[in-house]
């Protein structure tokens, strides 16, 4: 675990690619340190049965951790954490997609976490919006996600799996150490936050600082995403 508060200039490894799933309309593959996420977007297609008429498009998301992705083996069926993450991603991406452009249809986002080394939610949001941009579905902005783990006074941006689970080992029993996980989804060029998720205990003063750090973290990822999308555009153009 990192010993002091630090804001690394960059991930050790940050890879972003499009076109990972050939059948999908759009897809993306993202690597944040050892966290590996693959995302596929299908649609706009017909809504699932038993849904009410909606003049706007609906965004549906299914996130799944691969059975081998975590320390403990995951089950094949979606568990409550995966359902929660899926719902958060839908909420983060609904304001991003131009829903009015696709009446009465559904946009499906499937995310598979191949390896979990922390910061999955942030990475999944980034991967999903890169896949959306790749699919040619009109979006307002490319949402970027970033995670932060707060342990006592220690802020760890882009936490690893161990850091996400970890607690500060304090000698004095009386001292209350706060632990929290924060995830933010930022629309960088519109400068809007589409999702803010906080789990745990935080005081007001540090919350402000943490959100600022998280936003900085998002902005750091943006150039990589941008480069990835322009590169995929050039490839597509040369193929045509």
């Amino acid at each position: 675990m990192r010993k002091d508060y630090q804001l690394p200039k960059f991930y050790d490894r940050l890879v972003c690619r499009t076109g990972a799933v050939s059948q999908a309309v759009g897809s993306a593959y993202i690597e944040l340190r050892n966290t590996k996420i693959i995302c596929a977007v299908y649609g706009p297609r017909e809504v699932a049965k038993k849904q009410e008429f909606n003049i706007q498009a609906t965004v549906a998301c299914e996130l799944k951790f691969a059975t081998f992705s975590c320390r403990r083996r995951r089950r094949h069926i979606q568990d409550s954490q995966e359902k929660e993450y899926s719902q958060i991603i839908v909420q983060a991406l609904q304001p991003v997609v131009r829903l009015d452009k696709y009446p009465k249809s559904q946009i499906d986002i499937f995310i598979t976490v191949l390896q979990n080394d922390g910061s999955v939610l942030g990475g999944a949001i980034t991967a999903a919006s890169v896949a959306l941009a790749d699919s040619g579905i009109e979006i307002f902005d490319v949402a970027i996600g970033c995670c932060l783990r707060q342990i006592g006074d220690l802020s760890l941006i882009d936490p690893t799996y161990l850091e996400e689970e970890g607690r500060l080992n304090n000698e004095e029993e009386d001292e209350i150490v706060t632990n929290a996980n924060v995830t933010i989804a930022l629309l960088p060029s519109l400068n809007q936050v589409s999702a803010l998720i906080m789990n745990g205990e935080l005081d007001v003063d540090s919350t402000q600082r943490i959100i600022k750090d998280c936003l900085e973290g998002c902005i750091r990822i943006y150039p990589v995403v941008r480069e990835c999308l322009t590169k995929s555009l050039e490839e597509k153009m040369s193929r045509n």
Binding site: V25, E138, F140, L233
Partner: protein, 194 residues
């Protein structure tokens, strides 16, 4: 190819002010500025007497959805006395990746003598139909209409299994058995020209 087109842009990128440009395909306007909503190249089209139009040129096939007024190609799934269910497989000339469901109601088949229409004399399951989208319909299907001369059945097989030849607005004939079957035939001279 990329020589004449502009810079690559990604969604959310600001392209210009609406005082100087007008917003075209793949862009949106927010707070008096035009932003990109697609990945592509910035393309400026000058228009006489109007503001130049900014649009995005993409490498993707555009996402196609049935919208009101579009002519679609559909396959008839089943027919009943009030309506028939179809599967929209093509919008204009672009085939769809995934089909949409549609409905042609009895009153939308013909422009005149609507009350005398008999569904079974217009469509049979398996026919290919040109139709126009008239409404987004209910959650399950789009409402289509064939109430125009150029719309209707464009391909049908006879009971013997051979593709039939249209011989009038309401009849098609099997070239092998010479049996005449009834259909709401699309006016050939309209759709072969275009």
């Amino acid at each position: 190819m990329a020589a004449e087109v502009g810079n690559p842009v990604i969604p959310g990128q600001r392209l210009g002010s609406i005082d100087q440009f007008s917003a075209g395909l793949g862009t949106y306007v927010r707070q008096r500025h035009i932003y990109a909503s697609l990945v592509g190249y910035k393309d400026i089209i000058s228009q006489a007497g109007q503001l130049p139009k900014i649009q995005i040129k993409t490498g993707n096939v555009s996402c196609n959805l049935p919208t009101i007024g579009k002519v679609v190609t559909a396959k008839v799934l089943n027919v009943n006395p009030r309506f028939c269910r179809v599967l929209i497989i093509c919008i204009g000339t672009t085939p769809l990746k995934e089909p949409f469901k549609g409905t042609i109601r009895k009153e939308d088949i013909r422009a005149t003598e609507k009350d005398k229409v008999d569904m079974y004399n217009c469509f049979k399951p398996g026919d290919a139909v040109l139709a126009e989208v008239i409404s987004l319909g209910d959650p399950r299907s789009y409402y289509l209409s064939t109430a125009k001369n150029e719309l209707g059945v464009i391909f049908a097989k006879s009971t013997a299994g051979h593709p039939m030849v249209p011989i009038s607005w309401t009849e098609m004939q099997c070239p092998h058995t010479e049996k005449i079957e009834l259909r709401k035939v699309a006016g050939i001279k309209y759709w072969t020209d275009s």
